[in-house]
């Protein structure tokens, strides 16, 4: 007798002790005598026929080998296989949708890292279609909407984010900073409600009302910004510039203040300075359409005036 059965060595860790066993034998192996009743004497070991398939060390005829190839599979293994196949089909059915969402999310992250917030908004929005309750995606969508100035979409995302736990400290910090920045310009005070009724009014009386408010309430960023905007509308660019630059010191990355300063400096003919504000806005959002249009406009102005040098 000469057969070898190779088992997996026992080990005591997180190992899988799985093996297939290769059997090497020549003449007799008692364990399989019941399978092969005939001895290996030049006949098929399964049925004793004179013919057997050439090339194999085990002498079996075609039929006996075919029988060995199709050993009966237990019913529970068949049931297991059906279960696995069913689950695989479910997985494959859902795969395209999930992969697509994953790809949009990855593209959103890439756009976000390059401060391309309009693109990031589009990509994260696609993810919300597949995973509307993903807090991380909704938070990123909210931030991207804010930076790209898409306030309606931002409100939707904000409602989704409120009350959710943000696991990433960095994201949490970004959300807090953003909300603080929003609140600076969005104070719901009695005065704000009062002046909202006279929003487009730039009369002396309205300007006086604003100035009076600032004297009473001190430096209120939202009121200062509104006043600077009204001064700009009245053509009082120098005063508007001074006030807007004060406002910019408080929330230094507020795009609406940068837009106002760009417009003021453009009207003042300070194209280089206006360009700086556009660049500042583009540094915050590389796809800021107001800033991009502003730069195009400034360059056009500059071309009309030979002798001026282009800033950046």
């Amino acid at each position: 007798m000469n057969y070898t059965v190779i088992f997996v060595q026992t080990n005591c860790s997180g190992s899988s002790a799985v093996s297939h066993i290769h059997m090497f034998y020549t003449q007799e192996e008692p364990e399989f005598r019941h399978t092969f009743p005939y001895s290996d004497s030049g006949t098929c070991r399964g049925c004793g026929k004179a013919e057997y398939e050439e090339g194999y060390q085990t002498h079996l005829c075609y039929d006996c080998r075919a029988q060995c190839l199709h050993l009966p599979v237990p019913v529970w293994i068949k049931a297991f296989a059906v279960g696995v196949i069913t689950l695989t089909c479910i997985g494959l059915f859902r795969m395209p949708k999930f992969l697509e969402a994953g790809i949009h999310y990855a593209r959103g992250l890439k756009a976000e890292s390059h401060k391309k917030y309009a693109t990031a908004t589009r990509e994260f929005e696609r993810v919300t279609e597949a995973f509307p309750n993903s807090t991380e995606n909704n938070v990123r969508y909210f931030l991207a909407c804010y930076h790209s100035g898409q306030m309606e979409k931002m409100d939707w995302a904000y409602q989704k984010v409120v009350g959710q736990t943000i696991e990433s400290d960095d994201l949490f910090q970004q959300v807090n900073t953003t909300i603080e920045g929003m609140n600076i310009f969005d104070r719901d005070t009695a005065f704000v409600r009062q002046v909202s009724k006279i929003k487009d009014d730039t009369s002396d009386a309205v300007i006086a009302t604003y100035k009076e408010r600032l004297v009473k309430a001190g430096h209120e960023v939202a009121v200062e910004f509104e006043l600077a905007d009204k001064l700009y509308d009245r053509g009082e660019y120098a005063s508007a510039d001074t006030l807007a630059r004060e406002v910019l010191k408080k929330p230094p990355d507020a795009p609406q203040v940068l837009y106002l300063l760009y417009a003021i400096n453009r009207e003042l003919g300070k194209y280089d300075q206006a360009m700086v504000y556009c660049d500042h806005a583009l540094a915050l959002n590389a796809e800021d359409s107001v800033a991009i249009k502003g730069k195009i406009r400034l360059n056009a102005f500059k071309k009309e005036q030979p002798g001026e040098t282009l800033s950046r």
Binding site: F7, S13, S15, Y56, G91, L99, Y105
Partner: protein, 176 residues
């Protein structure tokens, strides 16, 4: 952590069954007579397939490494779609967790065992085989042996998780 291998095999029994089934499929593919199949059992080894010696050595080797391909592909197909909502978006359902368990269990049993490696080793070194076959297969067997030994350091689990989580991430990374 010290956990007996057979216990891990029991906990991840779907992988053991698929592993043995893969051996059996390759035996059928090459018309190699199968004498006995044990898909799962309480003991060591947790499963096995006893078959005759194939006509060609490359068939012997493919029967040995067959589960690597079958378990990896099947584990990836099952777990990868479920890993996206769970890992990337934190919105997994119980079905997703079931699919991940199943996929990781199957993929972590992809590595041929030390027994598989030994049988391949014997096939190329104890039987007549050409120098080319020896040169080609010896490193493969070496890697399998390393992989089998690495299971003591949870390499098999790491591989299973890698297939389940890493595969979708790789696809997303390449497509994005």
């Amino acid at each position: 952590m010290f956990i007996p291998g057979f216990l891990i095999s029991m906990l991840t029994f779907p992988g053991v069954i698929v592993h043995e089934y893969a051996h059996m499929l390759f035996c059928r593919l090459f018309r190699v007579a199968i004498f006995e199949v044990c898909y799962i059992r309480w003991g060591n080894p947790a499963g096995y397939v006893i078959h005759e010696i194939p006509r060609k050595q490359w068939q012997h080797i493919l029967i040995g490494v067959g589960p690597f391909f079958v378990n990896t592909i099947l584990g990836g197909l099952i777990a990868a779609p479920a890993a996206i909502p769970v890992i990337k978006f934190g919105t997994g359902t119980p079905l997703d967790f079931l699919l991940i368990y199943l996929g990781v269990s199957i993929a972590m049993h992809a590595f041929p065992s030390t027994g598989d490696a030994k049988s391949m080793w014997n096939a190329i070194w104890k039987e007549k085989s050409s120098l080319g076959v020896k040169i080609a297969v010896t490193p493969i067997v070496g890697i399998i042996m390393l992989g089998a030994l690495g299971s003591m350091m949870w390499l098999d689990l790491a591989y299973g998780v890698g297939i389940a989580v890493g595969l979708p991430n790789l696809i997303i990374y390449l497509a994005a």
